[in-house]
Amino acid sequence: MSATPAFDEMRNADGSVREPYLVLDAWLKEQPPQALGLMAADAEAIFRRLGITFAVYGSNEGTEKLIPFDLIPRIISAMEWRKLSKGIEQRVRALNAFLHDVYHRQEILKAGRVPEKLILQNSAFCPEMMGLDPAKGIYSHIIGVDIVRVGPDDFYVLEDNLRTPSGVSYMLEDREAMLQLAPELFQRLKVAPVENYPENLRRTLESVAPNSARSTPTIAVLTPGIYNSAYFEHSFLADQMGAQLCEGQDLFVDGGKVFKRTTLGPEQVDVIYRRIEDDFIDPLTFRPDSMLGVPGLFDAYRAGNVTLVNAPGTGIADDKAVYTYVPEIIEFYLGEKALLPNVPTYNCTDPEQRAYVLEHIGELVVKEVHGSGGYGMLVGPASTKAQREDFTRKIIARPDNYIVQPTLALSTCPTYVNAGIAPRHVDLRPYVLVGDQVRITPGGLTRVALTEGSLVVNSSQGGGTKDTWVLEE
């Protein structure tokens, strides 16, 4: 769809194979004609057994679907990963510093480096968080940073996810499946492990327990329940960490502390990894009609008797309009230039930029400021005239509600499709844990747009996943 040919991560323009893919290429050539087809069938059986499903909102084809898995791994060299992980660590440190500042002294606003209105009038800003000091000063402990690649050395951060990023269970299950499908490949290549993610998650959560907690803090995963699209992941992570999976009704607040109902009586909970959105976590402080949360939870958090992971109000740091200021945020708090650049972004409230956007809408990507999951989005080159006219009207009516970016030629990776192996566009979501230290799982979740030419990788829009291999030196 894009005018410039996309960078292919396996093959150079002359058809030669890039160094990190040499072993995989040789292995693929060794496979008998039917082998990949059989492996794909095996993979499907493995995933059915693992039970990984996701729900597509608004879908008529039943609520649960198997997320498509592509059996050809994506490979990242050790050197490429070093560069990426440094940039990611810099970003999450700066964003946590930003969160502490906007909920305390607001120096960055006073300095005029980020517009005050953009933060204080933003619906993602949580006034109730003002002055609260979370354990170890960390607000966002579990972060997914969406990265796209457009060239051998050109990586861009597409967005930061500091609220409740999902998908890490796919990363783990994709690896599990690959280990079963192609064990010999792991003998030929030194692939950095991802299997310790649940253990690292547990360590991270334990490290941010309140000071009053016992030496082994009690951890609960708080889920909205079985109808949530990521319920599988909630139960999977709780199980892997050896933590309790709870719904709001399983917990209660008494005497300013949070307890879980158990058959042996109430057990105090120290850390809650909550997968419920801010508005719904506590009807006493936030939405009074919420049936999902725990009444009094936020005050118990404020009293320092429990840690919420992630903290409420972290959405102000991954708001799409705030995103354009992240390089500024990194400089302000760390005094360093951003190691990973942002995708250039047009601000539609600026008349000149808006005029450019409206004239070139067919070439651009338009995103709703508060949209996610690929909903409320226009990919210019793949759009119809009616869709472009619709978005033109929307941008004129509410320019502040949209950000616009060039259509990036996302890199491609070899992907197993009906016709054999063909390049498909991919992105990457590495998962970052921030606690007593920053722990970045090597690789992350690669999402692949399975339709030829498509740039939309979201699972809700027909995307699949791949195992992501970071090579060790």
Partner: protein, 283 residues
């Protein structure tokens, strides 16, 4: 002035609730305009309550009961010594950044007709205190609060005392041509909305109003607006004055919702105000 306060609220809990929790915002703090000599809040579960400072610097309690039955009664008693500083509160140690109080909320939308004529004055950076007094005057006119209308507003202030847990959900309905109904919450929201539209930080204040020859005791509401020089200054649009030593300041927030004196889950509705007495005591 020494002011003695006794305030009792009760909620019908009913049966069948495994738990009830409350967020209580009924504790005044010491400041330039007042010193709390004695204060107590009685309520089932208070002995185990978590005591916290909320986002706006208020002293709050998180109280809970297991299998509550019958009525939940909150009894507040205390003595506060007040000083008339013409409304100037200044800066309090736990105040969040003033800029926070430029955030508009659904309850603090401004009426263009009220704030727009003042915009030029606000922009030119003239005397902010004078501007705020003019704004209070405009609010008074808009809501029909005036010196010749003493009797009309007093019962309305009392209404506020009766419905203090409603979180500012007073009816906003207005008939064309009829001046909107004035009660302390409504006019305070209007004042705050206008301030914020003029980019002046403004916050909602709840507190007690001592009875006097000019009016009865009330659980009351007024606003504070921010001046870079003097800090926070009170404006009681309902009475058309800056708060005096009859005002005991209890809590501040973005709007009535964030200052609700007793929030409860399960929602127990509007409390029955059993009794309220706010009296000056002999020195």
């Amino acid at each position: 002035m020494k002011i003695s306060i006794r305030h009792q609220l009760s909620f019908a809990v009913g049966h069948g609730n495994a738990h009830a929790v409350q967020h209580i915002l009924l504790t005044p703090l010491d400041g330039p305009t007042q010193k709390v000599l004695r204060w107590s809040i009685e309520l089932d579960g208070m002995d185990r309550a978590a005591r916290i400072f909320d986002a706006f610097g208020n002293s709050a309690q998180l109280v809970s009961q297991i299998r509550p039955q019958g009525d939940l009664v909150v009894t507040v008693e205390g003595i506060v010594e007040t000083v008339d500083r013409h409304g100037v509160v200044g800066r309090l140690p736990r105040d969040p950044m003033p800029a926070l109080f430029r955030r508009t909320t659904p309850l603090t939308q401004s009426d263009l007709a009220i704030h727009e004529p003042l915009r030029d004055g606000a922009r030119k950076g003239g005397n902010r205190i004078e501007l705020l007094h003019r704004l209070m005057g405009r609010i008074g006119e808009a809501y029909g609060i005036g010196a010749d209308d003493e009797e009309a507003h007093e019962p309305a202030a009392q209404t506020q005392a009766q419905s203090q847990s409603s979180g500012g959900e007073q009816s906003q309905e207005q008939d064309a041509g009829v001046k909107p109904e004035a009660d302390a919450t409504t006019v305070t929201h209007a004042f705050i909305g206008a301030c914020r539209a003029l980019e002046i930080p403004a916050r909602f204040i709840t507190g007690y109003l001592a009875e006097s020859e000019d009016g009865p005791a009330a659980f009351h509401a007024w606003a504070e607006a921010y001046d870079d020089g003097l800090g926070w200054i009170g404006f009681d649009s309902m009475l058309g004055i800056c708060p005096t030593d009859r005002h005991v300041r209890v809590a501040s927030g973005l709007d009535a919702l964030s200052c609700t004196p007793v929030r409860t889950v399960p929602d127990l509705g509007t409390p029955q105000a059993h009794g309220l007495s706010v009296e000056a005591v002999a020195q």
